[in-house]
């Protein structure tokens, strides 16, 4: 209960932030991307946390979303909002297609297979130049500002949309976790044979989790496209830039909990920005290097993420309260 209140407080505070920050400034941009990546990590959390399958290929769906809405806008003038829905549908479909052959794989094998899928999409995007613009990437065309066209003069609306997206994805995560699907996923995680015998359709439940997760991330791809305005295959289908990063955010924050991806994003994204600022100007690769070192350090210190730190604080506090 306390964690829910803390989370609600954080969300309310964050809801006020966009209004407080300079709408043209640097920090509101950082906030927008932080919220966006938190939402992406939360969507990943559905498969990585609840279904306990470490996917390293979620960039595949993210890129599908970004490209679908942008291509529809460029070629047919379709509003990005509709494009987002189309992207979501395609992302869900892709997740379904990927989930079927990887269904039986565990742990490291599953990570490898999903990694390969992400790369397949990246290669296709690089090669199918007529559709995707190839390695040169795509620019979201300028359109007179209006909500219907998902075009704004300032960054503040983008931040609010990202915030709304985070709230929605987190709500979906919690609904799944607390509902019948959550029970079934936990059963499958702990003993798949027993789960089957008592009536859990393990294949269907895992597919559902995969499709929901894929569709959500694809829709977030549209958000990214509209904010970033330009992207290329290496950015939106990238292993390091997307797949690993969102899994990492969820893991460091605490995988399998609603708060985890949010905590993780608010720690990692601003940290990355600061490091890029301070260090990248000095030498290429230095900020990433430092980041890699931090990652190793966190894994060694707390293999399950920051949530375990909070758990032990809470445990210590409740013990003293009880005595």
């Amino acid at each position: 209960m306390k964690r829910c209140l803390a989370l609600a407080a954080v969300i309310v505070a964050t809801a006020l932030l966009p209004s407080l920050l300079d709408p043209r400034g640097y920090w509101i941009r950082v906030l927008t991307f932080t919220l966006l990546f938190a939402a992406m990590a939360q969507a990943w959390n559905i498969v990585g946390g609840l279904a306990n399958q470490t996917s390293l290929g979620h960039a595949a769906f993210f890129g599908i979303g970004a490209y679908t809405s942008t291509v529809l806008l460029l070629k047919f003038g379709v509003s990005p909002w509709l494009g987002m829905l189309a992207g979501g549908a395609l992302g869900g479909l892709a997740a379904f297609i990927i989930a079927i052959p990887t269904m039986r794989l565990q742990g490291h094998y599953f990570a490898l297979a999903t990694l390969a899928f992400g790369e397949v999409m990246r290669v296709i995007a690089n090669v199918w130049t007529s559709l995707t613009g190839g390695p040169g990437g795509l620019s979201v065309p300028f359109v007179p500002p209006s909500f219907a066209a998902y075009s704004f003069k300032l960054l503040r609306p983008h931040a609010y949309i990202a915030l709304a997206a985070l709230v929605v994805v987190t709500a979906i995560f919690e609904i799944i976790r607390r509902g019948a699907m959550g029970y079934r996923l936990r059963a499958i995680k702990q003993n798949p044979a027993a789960a089957e015998v008592i009536g859990v359709d393990t294949t269907r439940v895992k597919l559902q989790a995969a499709v929901i997760s894929g569709a959500l991330i694809a829709m977030l791809g549209t958000l990214y496209a509209q904010v970033a305005v330009f992207f290329d295959p290496d950015t939106v289908f990238g292993i390091a830039s997307i797949s690993i990063r969102i899994a990492l955010i969820a893991i460091i924050g605490g995988v399998g909990t609603a708060a985890g991806p949010i905590l993780g994003a608010f720690f990692i994204i601003p940290l990355e920005e600061v490091m890029n600022d301070l260090l990248s100007s000095r030498a290429a690769g230095l900020s990433q290097l430092v980041f890699g070192i931090i990652l190793i350090a966190v894994i060694l210190w707390r293999p399950r993420g920051f949530i375990t730190v909070f758990d032990s604080w809470r445990a210590r506090r409740s013990r003293t309260v009880a005595s």
């Binding site: 052959p101 490291h108 094998y109 290429a284 894994i299």
Partner: protein, 286 residues
């Protein structure tokens, strides 16, 4: 005719792919973890060999043992200090630790050496022998020969030496091995260091025909994983079979597709094997 030539080239290159990938399968077989950073040691091996060529005038093939030694040392420390600590952690932690190591090595190389492409020139680079209507490229042949030597040495090591047998015992049953007096921690260090050393050795050997830059390892990642998955994660013999198979698949696909799509063919093979026969052609499931 080009078909046969492709198969020949594929086999020659495939031998090297086997050597490069054996380390990955060895680590998985002994410790049960997939080292996502394995390809980075290829980069290390190539850089060591390049600098040996640039500053000492050593032919890359002669520098290969040096690459092995450097990677072995680094691997020994990495295993002991980092990987050993997550052997009992959930797989997600293991995956991300090796991913972190990948990031550190790749960006470390970028910082130390800069992003420019480097290559070597050797006297035999463009020479080929003719075997009837077919050509055998000398760099490929030498690489293949070195791989054979390496493979034979490894085979002797695993079968005949005490270390090798202790490692295989640790792979099959760590607690039983411990009871028999095997220092399993030492075995893990040995397996990891040996594994990355072999990958680095392979890197040096391919330097005559591959350009080195900090991201070169990344280009071989999927290839390496396809080799070991095809052969069976954990099976050294499988890595050999997988290496040759991947070499041939790659060579044949170069006849029909541009280079980008060649990679796609490999990916698809990789995914198919994982989906249809995860234990690979040779390996037994763990």
């Amino acid at each position: 005719m080009s078909f046969l030539q492709a198969i020949l080239d594929g086999l020659l290159i495939g031998g090297v792919y086997a050597v490069i990938s054996i380390g990955l399968t060895l680590v998985y077989g002994v410790m049960g973890i997939v080292n996502f950073a394995q390809a980075e040691f290829l980069t290390i091996g190539m850089f060591v060999a390049w600098f040996a060529w640039a500053f000492l005038g050593l032919d890359p093939v002669l520098a290969a043992p040096l690459s092995f030694a450097v990677a072995f040392a680094i691997g020994w420390v990495v295993q002991g200090q980092l990987i050993a600590r997550v052997l009992t952690a959930p797989s997600v932690a293991q995956i991300f630790l090796t991913v972190g190591i990948l990031i550190v090595i790749e960006n470390g190389s970028l910082l130390l050496f800069g992003s420019q492409f480097r290559s070597v020139t050797t006297s035999y680079q463009t020479v080929s022998l003719s075997l009837g209507p077919l050509f055998i490229s000398i760099p490929y042949l030498i690489a293949f020969a070195m791989s054979l030597v390496c493979g034979a040495a490894l085979w002797w090591f695993m079968r005949a030496s005490w270390f090798g047998r202790a490692m295989r015992a640790t792979a099959q049953n760590p607690s039983a091995a411990k009871l028999m007096g095997v220092d399993t921690e030492l075995m893990y260090k040995m397996a990891f260091a040996l594994g990355v050393g072999l990958t680095a050795f392979g890197g040096a050997v391919i330097l005559p025909y591959v350009t080195v830059f900090p991201g070169v390892g990344g280009q071989f990642v999927v290839l390496m994983f396809t080799v070991v998955v095809l052969g069976g994660l954990g099976s050294v013999a499988g890595a050999v079979v997988g290496g040759l198979a991947v070499g041939v698949i790659q060579a044949l696909s170069s006849l029909f597709f541009p280079i980008q799509l060649q990679n796609l063919v490999l990916f698809i093979v990789f995914i198919l094997v994982l989906a249809v026969r995860p234990q690979g052609l040779v390996g037994a499931s763990r």
